[in-house]
């Protein structure tokens, strides 16, 4: 059984770990990945991420699904860096476009870092249910409440956002199907056609998201929520 937001229902040490610890772990892991620059450091980071995927028992397909969705974006990043990053010692040169080894290496570094961060993020959502995530954010922010930071509002915002993800995903899929029926699938045709298809898709998705957000804010107000008062606290770990 799998929830629509990517949680994978298996038992593993990562699934059992507290959400707050996983969030801190994610921040630390992302920092290490971003700081890794040499091939050896990146290989070590990749090994660490692979070990986490194995420990999570979510399966490689689930762990790499988001990455597969970004393959074209990552390819563009790699090409742009390889062709425009450096002007010295070009392997190939065509007007302002210069293919360089330094550029290709820089592109590969960025792609590797991005891919590792994406897999780490996927692992978090695959091993943490949305309500645990909200609860983890609240636990992490709690010390800031003493400084007057509206932590409850922040945790609520995270919870509400997470709550809306499956709805918006479902709506996006419906719009894609509707568009495919009328104009052909967005994933077919040339790059320009695809770009136009995706832009055409984005507009109704955004309109719908804003409409839903507006309706939710009215419903929250009707149920007594006030940002300046005593807000509700959905998402607690041990509540009913």
């Amino acid at each position: 059984m799998r929830s629509s937001v990517g949680y994978v229902w298996v038992d593993s040490p990562l699934h059992r770990a507290p959400a707050a610890a996983k969030l801190v772990g994610l921040l630390v892991a992302v920092a290490l990945v971003v700081l890794a620059s040499s091939p050896v450091e990146l290989a070590l980071a990749a090994f660490g991420v692979a070990a986490l995927v194995a420990a999570s028992r979510v399966g490689w397909r689930a762990a790499l699904r988001s990455l597969w969705g970004l393959r074209w974006f990552l390819l563009v990043v790699l090409c742009m860096n390889a062709l425009f990053f450096s002007a010295s010692d070009p392997l190939l040169s065509l007007g302002p476009v210069r293919l360089t080894l330094a550029g290709a290496a820089q592109g590969a570094r960025i792609v590797a870092r991005t891919a590792l961060v994406v897999v780490l993020g996927t692992l978090l959502t695959a091993t943490t249910r949305p309500q645990q995530l909200t609860s983890g954010v609240r636990d992490l922010l709690r010390p800031l409440a003493r400084l007057g930071v509206p932590t409850e509002a922040a945790a609520l915002a995270v919870g509400v956002t997470v709550q809306f993800v499956p709805t918006l995903l479902r709506e996006s899929r419906q719009l894609m199907r509707a568009q495919a029926l009328r104009c052909g699938p967005a994933s077919s045709g040339g790059i320009m056609r695809r770009a136009v298809s995706y832009v055409r898709l984005l507009v109704p998705v955004f309109v719908s998201a804003f409409r839903r957000a507006d309706e939710l804010s009215v419903a929250m107000e009707a149920r007594g929520y006030r940002i300046d008062g005593r807000p509700g606290r959905p998402g607690g770990e041990n509540r009913p």
């Binding site: 929830s3 309706e215 009707a222 509540r239 009913p240």
Partner: protein, 264 residues
């Protein structure tokens, strides 16, 4: 009461309405007739521009009593999934009581009780996205009932759910009404539902075109057509029988009434 979203274009024009404790009032009318604006005023979601409005004895024009009024008057909206603040059913239902000052334990107990009242006992740990539309709307209803309101406003709350979900919601609302003596203001396009009310209010162009018992209001075809509505199914069947000379007398507005009239 009058309300305008833009100057010179009133959405509500001199609406006057009384609802008694425990009474079930159905508000019907075509889109744009002012039903939702009226419903939102009952929950103080819109500022009172002119006129007077008291809900459960609380002055809606007094900004210091807005939250008191919202506790006394709960509102269920059209789209269930646009009302949830948490993926977890129990968390979502406890949201209202917490906002209205209940402690953690009391809010949890209120959520458990309200879920049981709407026929969803034991659903506290369920994910709202795994529920049917009807169950989701009952969760939304429980989220309102958990604050124990004196008045319940439902704004087209059955229009986005299937017939089975609609029946489940109607049963849950009517049970809550009978057990808690909650006054019910149900904005709806569903004439069969309106036929079950104590009183029907017909809105037309921002004003109350008619108000009365369902048997009178919903059998008046001319009135309903002028408000962009049509009579309930039972009334339409009866009209057909009358035209063919197979029936005579006052038209029933419910299927049960139609069956009784035909058997008699």
């Amino acid at each position: 009461m009058t309300h305008a979203y833009a100057p010179g274009r009133p959405t509500l024009r001199g609406v006057s309405l009384d609802v008694a404790p425990g009474e079930f009032v159905a508000v019907v009318g075509e889109n744009g007739s002012g039903k939702t604006t009226l419903a939102r005023h009952l929950n103080a979601l819109l500022p009172l521009q002119s006129g007077e409005l008291a809900v459960a004895g609380i002055d809606a024009g007094d900004p210091t009593r807005v939250w008191e009024l919202r506790r006394a008057c709960g509102m269920v909206f059209q789209t269930p999934e646009n009302q949830f603040v948490s993926t977890l059913v129990g968390e979502d239902v406890a949201f209202g009581p917490r906002n209205f000052g209940a402690g953690e334990k009391d809010a949890r107990l209120a959520a458990v009780r309200a879920l049981a009242d709407v026929g969803l006992a034991g659903f506290e740990r369920r994910d709202v996205h795994t529920l049917s539309g009807g169950q989701q709307q009952r969760v939304a209803l429980a989220g309102v009932l958990a604050s124990d309101p004196d008045v319940l406003v439902l704004d087209e709350a059955t229009s986005m759910i299937d017939p089975q979900g609609r029946d489940e919601l109607v049963r849950a609302v009517l049970r809550a009404r009978s057990e808690r003596s909650t006054a019910l203001v149900w904005v709806t396009h569903d004439m069969e539902l309106a036929a079950r009310a104590d009183r029907v209010v017909v809105m037309r162009a921002g004003a109350v075109a008619a108000a009365g018992v369902p048997a009178e209001v919903l059998s008046d075809r001319a009135l309903l057509e002028s408000a962009g509505l049509e009579p309930p199914l039972a009334t339409r069947v009866w009209e057909g029988l009358v035209r063919r000379g197979a029936a005579c007398g006052p038209a029933p507005v419910t299927v049960e009434g139609l069956v009784s009239a035909l058997c008699d």
